[in-house]
């Protein structure tokens, strides 16, 4: 983070309602610094990702050094500092899914979307992600489409779903 390029907003002149909701969460945690991760969870739920400005705002509210907030936000996989796509596709790469061919599923998804795992398509439609283990090993290989877990997937079934997103049929 460059210093002094962005002044931490003391209040939120943007009038963004989401910031008000975030404030309520911060208040509920009584501005406790150890609630940082809870607050980052709430912020990414509200905004979809953690923008630099937002991190500075949280740092200011909790009276924490921005480096600490940035450090925590970048340490954990679930926090993203870049916007995600409209649709999310998460491929489980746990051992059970791996043994049952999740690698092939991922490769065919990468081919279908022309992006690598972890990226978002240039039009901002689809994000392709991987998860370490969803704990749904009984129905491996598993893929999460916009939050809904689907089990026993194949390259064909996932590409069909992605095709629906790409062509806007759903």
């Amino acid at each position: 983070m460059k210093r002094n390029t962005v002044t931490p907003p003391a209040n939120h002149p943007s009038g963004d309602k989401r910031l008000k909701m975030l404030d309520a969460t911060i208040k509920r945690h009584q501005y406790q610094q150890d609630a940082l991760i809870e607050i980052l969870h709430r912020a990414s739920e509200l905004f979809g990702y953690l923008e630099l400005d937002l991190l500075l705002y949280i740092a200011h509210q909790l009276k924490l050094p921005p480096s600490r907030v940035y450090g925590v936000a970048t340490f954990y996989h679930l926090f993203s500092l870049a916007p995600k796509g409209k649709h999310n596709c998460v491929v489980c790469t746990g051992t059970a899914c791996y043994v049952k061919g999740s690698q092939e599923i991922l490769t065919s998804l990468e081919n279908a979307t022309a992006i690598k795992a972890g990226d978002t398509t240039p039009d901002g439609e689809i994000s392709l992600l991987t998860a370490r283990c969803l704990g749904a090993c009984g129905i491996a290989p598993a893929v999460v489409f916009d939050g809904a877990v689907a089990g026993n997937q194949t390259s064909e079934s996932v590409c069909k779903k992605i095709g629906e997103w790409q062509h806007g049929t759903k």
Partner: protein, 532 residues
């Protein structure tokens, strides 16, 4: 709350039991195959048929045979035999009612007399698939919270520790440290505050037993934690649970709220001077946070990096206070031990490993799902008899246990009884209990590389052996797997494994080379075949 109130709830619950119980699995596995719609349709069908007085439909926890979900179990007073229907579709609800009324249906029915079910010995999972995890009454009706009552009103904290020690229970998180000894250490530690933490950060890929307990029987965990808190003198508890388990989090929140409302958590529980509160802390996706010191750093709102021990959490843990950390399955064993006694528990299992262990059976195997078996059951029994072997005529080549910290056990060693010591002797470990079966098509060098990639990604970066070593190991494994390596690379690989194992700061790095060691030990020819 008094004991008679607890018994009153039990009585009402039993009185209201209808002649026919229809249980629909609403744990994560079945939910993702559409079991919510199945349950909703069953509800509607019962209503439409006007059978509400006779049939009760409930959502329950995991029924274990996850691969055949959605599962629906029917218990009838008039018929002793339970029926378990598999792959039930939402439109099948009328057929289920037909089956209850004795009509012929083409619903697929699972044989409850097959070894997958009959060889199980449920202690941790005794209520799983039986009770509604979202209703505290349902848990109380199965003797729930009676253990806590017994402890608070009839036992001294030292007696509780003594009972757990005598039971021989060992930590189910993987390392197998004696639970009673841990409790005794924290109980002895001096501090004006103490904490109890439940480690529900089940990060091992291929393990989902903790998830199942959280989703199927959350009150069992709360009761176990409360008993632990009384024994060691804590009044605040935390459950650190993965964000990847949203259903588990929701059910835990519900359970805590319900227990508080009934006065089973909070102040002066059972009119004793004992206060205990539990808060949930949601993880943010970091495997290393399963390590206890890293987990505590994360609860404190910091980066989840471990710190050297000693001091151990038992002396200086969360915010510097004495802290007891146990895994979900460990806490889930506590209430039954109190209720049924230490001797009962110590009578199950092997000499050094007491009780049962829940395993998540997955991979190339016919019956995937959860099993709970006494310690000492052999891998052969688990894989071939309970798991039904590899489908499509395949042959089991190895079983991977213990996740990235464990190793691959070859088929030639399947006669081994499963307990902490025997798995360690084979170069693997119990771990949290994931068991992934691999068949002839699995390339073991690839498997080792897969786990190394995992450890490389998940290394927190604090210590150099782990941060740099895992990357180098991964590169070497890739080189071998691409057929570009020479004999010298293999020697380098072994040397580096040794170094990472002995010089890393925490369990993640120390155990990262294990999958390489075990595949090298048992499947060396696969490595050699790839060497130039």
């Amino acid at each position: 709350m008094e004991l008679n109130e607890l018994l009153e709830i039990t009585r009402i619950e039993h009185d209201q039991t209808k002649p026919v119980q229809v249980r629909c699995c609403t744990a994560a596995g079945c939910l993702s195959s559409g079991s919510q719609a199945v349950k909703d349709n069953l509800d509607a069908a019962v209503k439409a048929a006007g059978l509400e007085d006779k049939i009760h439909v409930s959502g329950v926890g995991c029924m274990r045979l996850c691969c055949q979900g959605p599962l629906v179990q029917v218990d009838q007073e008039s018929n002793k035999e339970s029926k378990l229907f598999e792959q039930v579709k939402p439109e099948d609800s009328v057929k289920v009612i037909d089956a209850i009324e004795g009509k012929e249906t083409n619903l697929k029915q699972q044989d409850l007399h097959q070894p997958f079910f009959t060889r199980q010995l449920p202690i941790v999972l005794e209520n799983s698939g039986k009770i509604d995890p979202e209703r505290i009454q349902s848990y109380i009706a199965e003797n729930g919270y009676q253990g806590l009552y017994q402890v608070l009103r009839e036992m001294k904290p030292s007696e509780v520790v003594e009972t757990i020690t005598k039971s021989g229970l060992r930590g189910r998180g993987g390392a197998g440290y004696p639970t009673g000894l841990k409790w005794a250490t924290v109980a002895k530690s001096k501090g004006d505050k103490k904490y109890v933490i439940c480690n529900a950060d089940e990060g091992d890929p291929g393990a989902f037993m903790d998830r199942s307990v959280l989703e199927s029987d959350p009150h069992r965990l709360l009761e176990g934690m409360a008993i632990a808190a009384y024994a060691i003198g804590a009044s605040q508890g935390y459950i650190y649970v993965r964000a990847e388990y949203p259903i588990a989090i929701k059910r835990l929140e519900t359970a805590i709220r319900q227990a508080q409302r009934l006065g089973l958590l909070g102040s002066q529980i059972f009119d004793s001077p004992f206060d205990f509160k539990i808060e949930i802390r949601i993880g943010a996706g970091a495997y290393v946070c399963g390590e206890e010191t890293a987990l505590m750093a994360s609860i404190e709102g910091k980066r989840g990096v471990p710190h050297p021990r000693p001091p151990y959490p038992a002396e200086s843990g969360l915010w510097g206070y004495p802290t007891l950390i146990n895994n979900v399955e460990t806490f889930a064993n506590i209430a039954p031990i109190i209720r049924k006694g230490a001797d009962w528990f110590a009578g199950i299992g092997t000499e050094k490993s007491k009780g049962t262990k829940v395993f998540a059976l997955a991979g190339k195997i016919r019956n995937t799902g959860l099993i709970e078996v006494p310690m000492g059951t052999t891998l052969e029994e688990i894989v071939q008899e309970m798991g039904g072997g590899v489908p499509d005529g395949g042959i089991a080549k190895a079983v991977q246990t213990g996740g990235p910290s464990g190793g691959c056990i070859p088929a030639s060693a399947f006669a081994t009884p499963v307990d902490y010591e025997s798995l360690t002797a084979l170069g693997s470990m119990m771990g949290s209990g994931g068991m992934i079966v691999m068949d002839q098509t699995t390339n073991m060098v690839d498997v080792a590389r897969f786990f190394m990639e995992f450890c490389m990604d998940e290394s927190c970066g604090k210590c150099i052996p782990c941060r740099v070593g895992t990357v180098q190991l991964h590169d070497l494994l890739t080189k071998i797997s691409d057929g570009k390596a020479a004999q010298a690379d293999l020697e380098l690989l072994e040397e580096l494994c040794d170094m990472v194992k002995h010089t890393s700061l925490c369990g993640l790095g120390q155990s990262a080379p294990n999958p390489v060691f075990s595949t090298l030990k048992y499947f060396r020819d696969e490595y050699l075949a790839l060497i130039r």
